[in-house]
Amino acid sequence: MTDPLAQFIAILGGWGMFRLLGRASAAPVLTLGGVLFMLTYAPVAALWIAFTAIEATAMFLAFRGLERDTAWRKYGVYLLLPNFLFVDLHPLGFGVNVETLAISFSTIRIFMTAKQLLSARKTRPVRDARWIFVAGFFLPALVVGPVFSGTDLQKQSEAEEPDGVTLRDYRMVLQGLVLAILVNPALGLVIDLVKLPKVAGLPDAGAAPLYFLSLFAAFWGQSLVAEHTSRFFGFRLPVNFDAPWKAANIREFWSRWHRSMAEFVTQYIFLPLNLRGLSPRLATVTAFVFMGLWHNLSVGYAVWGISHGLLLAFWPKRDFTGATGLAAGIGTWAAVIGLSYIANYGALA
């Protein structure tokens, strides 16, 4: 993982270029900046993301001439998704470990862009394929951040007047940096310093809430930096976290935590499966197993995906109040924190 401050410095460099060159330079500057940043930190990952983007472009060019209802045009780009497994499987090909930074997020953004380009009612021109590369190498969200489609960036880029940068954006960038580079390591130190009760067979299980907080600080912070530095360039990204601490049950949790990815699996995994006859519950579990394996190809994340999927699929639809509501909230958070521990820090991780 790169230092968020190093990425912020790279974004600042891009911001300076953008200010000097003008509005039309936003997408090229951020794409080129992303390519250079990736080449600097993880050249293999840069090549793999470029390969995935070229693959997506080839699919776009091959399928755009087909009827909209054809299976290839509707589902052909799903062949891109296994590319994120490169993160876990690359030693089989290379024989040694290589840096695989940012591939997981970029693969999803490239897929979303190609899928939306092919879903458009009116056949999109060939030149629109460049937004696949913009989405793949988008500097502010390159390493961690919300997932989104390059076509959304295209719409914003073509809007007459983008939203201006507000004082809140600067504040949110600062808040994001504080969370990612100050709070996150401080929590790491707290975990090291605090003597927690040992649980046999579960190393550091007592620290699970602190681990979760640390992960939240890093992820939320980096998402804030991605979302609000994008505004410097005239782009608005989806909001990834919406006060997740307010979640009273698992449904609400997934509408507040890593929202862009939750929306992605709903739209691109759950709905197609459900529309093709899979029961909603099975489609939900499948979608979350996908999300788990997207995080990491491990037993821990498979357990994480199955468990979150089952919780969502079988959680009662009615709202609880009073003591039952409190118990539901506590149960939800115990499950969320416990599963995060199992996936990231437990023996199955």
Binding site: L12, G16, R19, V96, V98, E99
Partner: protein, 352 residues
């Protein structure tokens, strides 16, 4: 959108200013002996006449003040002694620290360099592997970092792809950026300030002692260190730990190629300034190095002399030299007295 081209440059300027302040502040939270070793290397003083370089075994066995006194007694002149240590298994950072010393303070007349090789078979795959980046970049100059980066190995499974693609490798721009961000953190003194940590005070004796178990003016010819002998249970544990994964150093073993190369480079650093270099090996509990091993070391490093610290202890000690250790790797004050005295007596010949 109002055009304010100055904004990003102002933020960048602030960060660059912080990085500059951090590069001068030297307040990054490091472990004590690394920080104090750098302080020693940058001390405003000429190089010592004798410099001992090595890891924690050097720290435990060598008392610079005692050796100064003994040399003065043996030679009739005043000679200064420094001990430069890093408790890290890899030579690249040791070379960086040594370069710092030689650049800042000049060359010693004599350097006694510990043979820095691994003796634990389970650790051999890690030899030369990336060290924690903050450890190496907290004080290092960019050109030093480049050395560490270029000469650190990443994989032991055979090279099938260029090393710049391997995990752990940082390109030079990434190293420079990492150096800048570290300096910014140093300027902010974070998280040390928030966590209530104090910055290590390397002024005074700590610059030289660096670790409470290391020697600095606290051994004497007239003292009796009998109370420091380990209990039978401790010694049994030391013996078990010492023998469990012990790996003999055979310089002709291909697995030792990286370590040999690094040691040659470390020795060459001293020799290029005219220092006379001795190589030494410090003893380990329950391990007897054979004459053949010592001869092999001397054949591998003909550019350096050899001082045999193990023999000093073999002569002084009983079975296992049991009275001379504080754990399986480090000698106690009795052991330090034997080795420091032996070293001083041997080095005195070079100054007579």
């Amino acid at each position: 959108m109002a055009r304010k081209p100055i904004a990003p440059f102002v933020v960048l300027a602030v960060l660059i200013g912080l990085a500059f302040a951090g590069s001068r502040a030297q307040t990054y939270e490091l472990n004590e002996h690394i920080q104090c070793s750098y302080e020693l290397a940058r001390k405003k003083a000429p190089a010592a006449d004798v410099l001992f370089a090595g890891n924690s075994r050097t720290g435990s066995a060598i008392d610079p003040l005692y050796i100064e006194q003994r040399l003065a007694h043996d030679t009739g002149g005043k000679l200064s002694v420094d001990r430069l240590t890093l408790a890290l298994p890899d030579v690249p950072p040791m070379r960086v620290l040594t370069r710092e010393y030689l650049r800042e303070r000049g060359f010693p007349k004599v350097a006694v360099v510990q043979l820095l090789v691994n003796y634990d078979a389970t650790m051999q795959p890690l030899v030369g592997k990336p060290i924690h980046p903050l450890r190496s970049i907290a004080f290092g100059r960019l050109d030093d970092l480049v050395i560490v980066q270029r000469e650190t190995e990443f994989e032991d499974s055979g090279r099938v792809i260029p090393r710049w693609l391997e995990q752990g490798h940082l390109s030079l721009p990434a190293v420079a950026l990492a150096k800048m961000t570290t300096n910014i953190y140093a300027a902010l003194r974070y998280p040390a300030r928030v966590m209530g940590h104090t910055v290590v005070d390397c002024s005074g004796p700590m610059t030289y002692r660096q670790n409470e178990n290391w020697r600095y003016g606290d051994i004497s010819d007239s003292a009796n260190y009998g109370e420091e002998v380990g209990t039978p249970q401790q010694m049994a544990a030391w013996r078990r730990l010492s023998l469990r994964h012990y790996m003999t150093y055979d310089p002709t073993d291909p697995a030792r190629a990286f370590e040999n190369d690094q040691m040659h480079r470390l020795i060459a650093l001293f020799r290029q300034g005219g220092s006379k270099v001795y190589l030494t090996v410090y003893p380990q509990f329950s391990i007897k190095t054979s004459l053949a091993e010592r001869a092999a070391i001397q054949r591998e490093f003909p550019e350096a002399g050899f001082i045999d610290s193990c023999v000093m202890l073999d002569v002084a000690g009983g079975p296992d030299n049991a009275t001379h250790y504080r754990d399986e790797h480090h000698v106690n004050r009795a052991g330090a007295l034997v080795i420091s005295r032996g070293m001083a007596d041997r080095l005195a010949r070079d100054f007579q």
